[in-house]
């Protein structure tokens, strides 16, 4: 017999699933969480807005496309932009093959669990070390011992060591996420390991690897302390000579210039202008990561 059939009025209400009500503790918790969310968002927006409003005023076409000229008293940051581009380019040229190669090795070839754990521990430790320590090491090793002097090249080598952990770890996660069944499928058809890595593994891990690269570019753009030591603290002049002569000379990147203008020379407007430019670059990089993720996801479907 149906349970509700003999039930009188009050009983039906007890059995009903309606009558939703909010618990007081939920309301309190939701309010607190909401407040925090607003606070975080407001702080970020205020911070970014402040820099952009104060900084964008100082950015002009001439500011971006010329070098400073002390005689007529104009300020331009083209040398710093070029130095930044050089350092990004060189660092990626060194760090990406080594980092991705290392990740492939750890994930696909390394047999000894112990070795893998040592490498993972090392990369994790390296990524937590303050950058100034990389700067000191870079100065001693690249500038002095290898006699590369204070130069863009020394800067790129130092940053390579700094971003390698990020590239290795992020690429490794990307490689790990490629399903085992793909590897089996390829092996079952007779693919060699290297063929499988080239045709299945790397294409499927590419979005993660590109994310690692863009994150590294962000780190390079934002680095100041280490570069001040190994790459130099001035960007007065445009780089001269051949490509190799240029990278062997010293020069500061945008972040270092920001420090120099705002702190040593007290020219805060220029500092804010560079800060705004850096902020725009970083926001742009993040958008690129998002776009790549979306496009690659669409490709997989």
């Amino acid at each position: 017999m149906h349970a509700g059939a003999t039930c009188k009025k009050g009983c039906e209400e007890l059995n009903s699933i309606t009558g939703k009500r909010k618990r007081p503790t939920d309301i309190v918790l939701y309010s607190i969480i909401g407040l925090f969310t607003v606070a975080v968002f407001a702080m970020t927006a205020y911070f970014a807005g402040y820099i952009l409003i104060k900084g964008l005023r100082g950015i002009s076409f001439a500011f971006l496309t010329t070098a400073s000229n002390p005689i007529i008293g104009t300020i331009g940051i083209l040398p710093a932009i070029l130095n930044t581009a050089y350092i990004i380019l060189l660092t990626l040229v060194f760090a990406v093959p080594v980092g991705v190669g290392g990740a492939v090795y750890i994930n696909e070839y390394a047999k000894s669990r112990k070795l893998i754990r040592v490498i993972e521990f090392t990369t994790e430790t390296l990524s937590g070390i303050p950058s100034i320590i990389f700067g000191v090491f870079g100065y001693v090793f690249f500038c002095t011992f290898l006699n590369l002097k204070v130069s863009l090249l020394s800067g790129a080598f130092t940053l390579t060591i700094m971003v390698l952990p990020t590239i290795i770890r992020t690429s490794q996660e990307a490689l790990k996420s490629v399903p085992l069944s793909y590897r089996e499928g390829a092996a079952g058809l007779g693919a060699s390991k290297w063929y499988m890595i080239r045709t299945i593994l790397l294409p499927n891990a590419s979005s993660g690897i590109i994310t690692a690269i863009v994150l590294s570019v962000g780190r390079i753009v934002g680095e100041s302390a280490a570069l001040l030591l190994v790459a130099g603290g001035s960007a007065m002049y445009l780089p001269k000579g051949s490509f190799f002569e240029q990278i062997k000379s010293s020069g500061s990147t945008l972040a270092v210039e920001l420090y120099r203008y705002a702190y040593s020379r007290g020219e805060n407007e220029v500092g804010f202008a560079i800060a705004a430019l850096l902020l725009i670059i970083v926001i742009g990089l993040n958008l690129i990561v998002k776009l790549i993720g979306k496009r690659l996801n669409r490709g997989a479907k």
Partner: protein, 250 residues
């Protein structure tokens, strides 16, 4: 005619003695089913037949596996050639995240076939061989992952057929599929047995009874009984085989 012979095949995973002296003659152009409860070693055995176990850590294999009289564990064996000759279809369909066409062409490219016309021809023939051509011929360039599970599995079979194997090893190929897809794959297997030697691992005894010519019953790493499928199911010689096929354990 015998296609694959195993002689006193032992396999250890570290401490675990997973295969204990398997002697089996697998007949050419027949379907051989490997049955037994979970953990009995039937899948492990299948994988030793084209060395898919090679990369497992701490694995030790002794004894012989002869494919057309050649020992596949000999140091002079080219694993790529071995797997071309004995292809594998896996438990869950695992097409690559690329187009239907590229999935089938993948194996051809491994083996150095580059001519477009030839690849086109083999892709079509393989898809027909796996009874999926009519369903996909108008969308060869679309992603394979958009196909249904059953279609994906037939695509994986087509991918295996493309490299013109002589033996096809199937590891529970229908266990992730619905009954209609399962039926299609079973029909396909009977068709395949005309040209290929088929070895199939299955959990499903009815499936073994329906489609196979020979059946081997595995238990705890040993092969208990091996005979024509009709004999195994109608008059098993070993009490343990009888207990298993009548559902007393498993």
């Amino acid at each position: 005619m015998t296609k694959i012979i195993t002689e006193n095949l032992h396999l250890h995973y570290g401490e675990n003695h997973a295969l204990r002296g398997i002697d089996l003659n697998i007949h050419a152009n027949k379907i051989t089913a490997l049955i037994g409860p979970s953990g009995c070693g039937k899948s492990t055995f299948l994988k030793t037949l084209n060395r898919m176990n090679d990369s497992v850590p701490n694995i030790k294999i002794t004894g012989k596996v002869l494919l057309d009289g050649e020992d596949i564990y000999d140091s002079t064996v080219d694993v790529t050639k071995l797997r071309k000759k004995a292809g594998m279809v896996f438990q869950s369909p695992n097409p690559f995240p690329m187009s239907i066409y590229d999935n089938v062409a993948y194996g051809l490219r491994i083996h150095g076939i580059k001519k477009r016309v030839l690849i086109d021809e083999i892709v079509e023939r393989s898809l027909q061989g796996a009874a999926i051509w009519d369903e996909v011929k108008d969308r060869l360039r679309t992603p394979a992952l958009a196909l249904s599970g059953g279609q994906q599995q037939r695509l994986c079979i087509a991918r295996t057929l493309a490299v013109s194997p002589e033996a096809i090893l199937m590891d529970e190929p229908t266990s992730a599929l619905d009954p209609i897809s399962t039926m299609k794959i079973e029909e396909l297997m009977s068709e395949l047995a005309k040209k290929y030697t088929v070895v199939i691992v299955t959990h499903n005894m009815q499936q073994a009874a329906r489609i196979s010519d020979y059946t081997a019953f595995f238990l705890l790493g040993e092969m208990i009984e091996y005979d024509k499928t009709n004999n195994i199911f109608a008059a098993p010689k070993d009490q343990r085989t009888e207990n298993y096929i009548t559902g007393r354990f498993g």
